[in-house]
Symmetry: none
């Protein structure tokens, strides 16, 4: 089997195992059993249990960062087109939810396991979280600067939105709770638009624009 595939196979197995048992409870033994390989083979591809766990986290944030940058670009472009911003923001939210839904194990690992204070990797996790957060702050700042948000503390607002996304994902998109991701995105967007719109009188128009109805 080609080295790349074998590596991915082990990554996949470990994602499943870490998600199911948690980092500490998961033994390398469990991972190799699921991957259907020998104990030593694991160490041909990864230096340690810690390393593969970090790799999964990096993988999640790599994809997430890419997505957020894409979103950022879409939003920037949307400002040039009349009435496009909110619709774009809604599409961005949909992509964020979809990303989590499509990567249930990684999502689980990042939001449940990696948060834990494990001196082995909590520093790196904080760093990556912070990077993601900064991208979101930038996005909100941009909307704020374009007068699309009422007077508010952008940092706090970002926390509110991120928290609501994470909690929504964990409660409605994980573990068989497969709510319809489009509906959830619409609800989220409506919620935050109502909360943030500068002129409440424009709410209906804004919602129509964002949700395409």
């Amino acid at each position: 089997m080609p080295a790349g595939e074998r590596r991915q196979q082990i990554l996949d197995a470990s994602a499943e195992v870490f998600s199911r048992k948690g980092y500490r409870m998961a033994a390398v033994s469990d991972v190799v059993d699921v991957a259907g390989i020998g104990r030593g083979t694991f160490y041909l591809y990864f230096d340690s249990k810690r390393e593969i766990f970090l790799e999964l986290i990096e993988e999640f944030f790599r994809g997430y960062a890419r997505l957020l940058e894409e979103n950022h670009r879409h939003l920037e472009e949307a400002f040039d087109v009349q009435g496009k911003v909110l619709r774009t923001w809604r599409d961005n939210m949909l992509r964020v939810l979809t990303y989590h839904k499509d990567n249930p194990h990684l999502t689980d690992i990042v939001y449940r396991e990696a948060m834990g204070r494990d001196e082995d990797f909590s520093a790196r996790v904080s760093e990556l979280s912070e990077l993601a957060r900064e991208k979101l702050v930038a996005e909100f700042q941009m909307m704020y600067d374009h007068g699309m948000m009422r007077e508010c503390d952008v940092e706090v607002v970002t926390s509110i939105v991120i928290g609501s996304v994470i909690y929504l994902v964990m409660n409605h998109l994980q573990q068989g709770n497969d709510a319809d991701v489009e509906t959830l995105a619409d609800m989220m967007v409506e919620y935050h638009i109502r909360a943030l719109i500068p002129e409440v009188g424009n709410v209906d128009r804004a919602l129509r624009s964002a949700l395409g109805k």
Copy 2:
């Protein structure tokens, strides 16, 4: 030393240790060192490391549940008084944030550590989280039933609010992030009132009523 005090002393020590090092990294050894007792003494008061951890979690949720019930009662009573509901809701939010701020170790343990999938206690944590969630759902349902919320999915809204609270607490009230809890409560309440108010035209009045300005 009286048994009760000794027990609490150990609980306090373990809260600090678990919060600092995490459940898995924290050794019983660390706890007894901080508590200034012998290794065996620990086991006179608690059956196991798992048990004391669960006890801390129960302690957090016991206090939280009491608070939420109190909040619920206040809200119920508020419905009888003209223009009191939103102000009460704001007070409730303040109490929720204050509770977390006043119990930083327990907050840390519950939201960072206890989330982890550990067969030792994740079942119980889910159960307790669910109980807390149900109380919040009930509160929102009550507001909804009184026509204080627009047409929406109460479950989803509850998730959004809970997520925003947790993330705000973890990012703005933990670890030396000493934001002013009243200001945060006001921001939160304004945010969610704007998002949820049935008639957007009444927003200013609602905010004035809620925030007492």
Copy 3:
């Protein structure tokens, strides 16, 4: 059992095991079996297998260094007394051989195991060997300076004597080969006096003086 005794008990057991099986082949498991203690108990007293091995080596060289200093002092004092030097040198040699005979396990470990290139401790072993060697060089230099040795390269002579001592110890005093240590000392002393005496004509007198016959 007092901590000091327990520690010594483990040291003794490990000396026996390391001497019998060698550092690499000896498992911590073997040591605790011989000591009659639990696996974890070992780690209450020593940080690692490497550490206890180094401790044994340090123990050997600590005793050896003390002995060599004592010898040095005796020799210095002997220069003040007519006809005492060679006799003292013979007593010193006897003490050296006796030290090795009395510490068979440590001797075995130092000369057979510790010589091996193990990056874990070979540096420290070299350092200690060098210290012992320097003391012996000093002793020979002192005799040389007092005109008790013919013109020669003191470094080379020291190597010759050390080598002969080690090989004699390993072949005649180890593993049940318990030759009489006094006889061996006499043979050694006679050998080296003959090899080193400045005036060959004085040999008989020198030997009589050294061997007390």
Copy 4:
């Protein structure tokens, strides 16, 4: 590449690696890396790590035994020629030192590593050492029988000489300690002649004869 050459190439690589890292620390991996061959190729030429190590030791002792036999023959022949014995003995010593100097890796392996108690090969090493020793004992016995040595314990004397040779080699001819091998041989021979000569009055003549001065 012809099988014989390939085999020797691996032997050379392993000699270097074992000498540098020691038997236990050296991985088969290191050997194949140095030899520039594949992992499996190693096992086409040698059954195991143990086997190649033993092979190196056998190689050392094969050469050494050959040399000692040659020395023995020279000595036997020397007895027929007036005043030739000591000169021959000196030449023999020179060849012994030269052999070690010319085979630094094997020397290192035999005297540092192979001494270790490793059930894998220590029995064989003892056997080979004993064979070499016996040849040297025979040589000394022959000299003793021809009245060229004073009354003494030949076994002990052999130990002394072997020990001095080994220690001299390890301290003055290994690892960049590039002493002149002829000078060392002369010093050694002078030392042992002085120590062993039956009539001390003949020492000067003996030394002149041995060292050719």
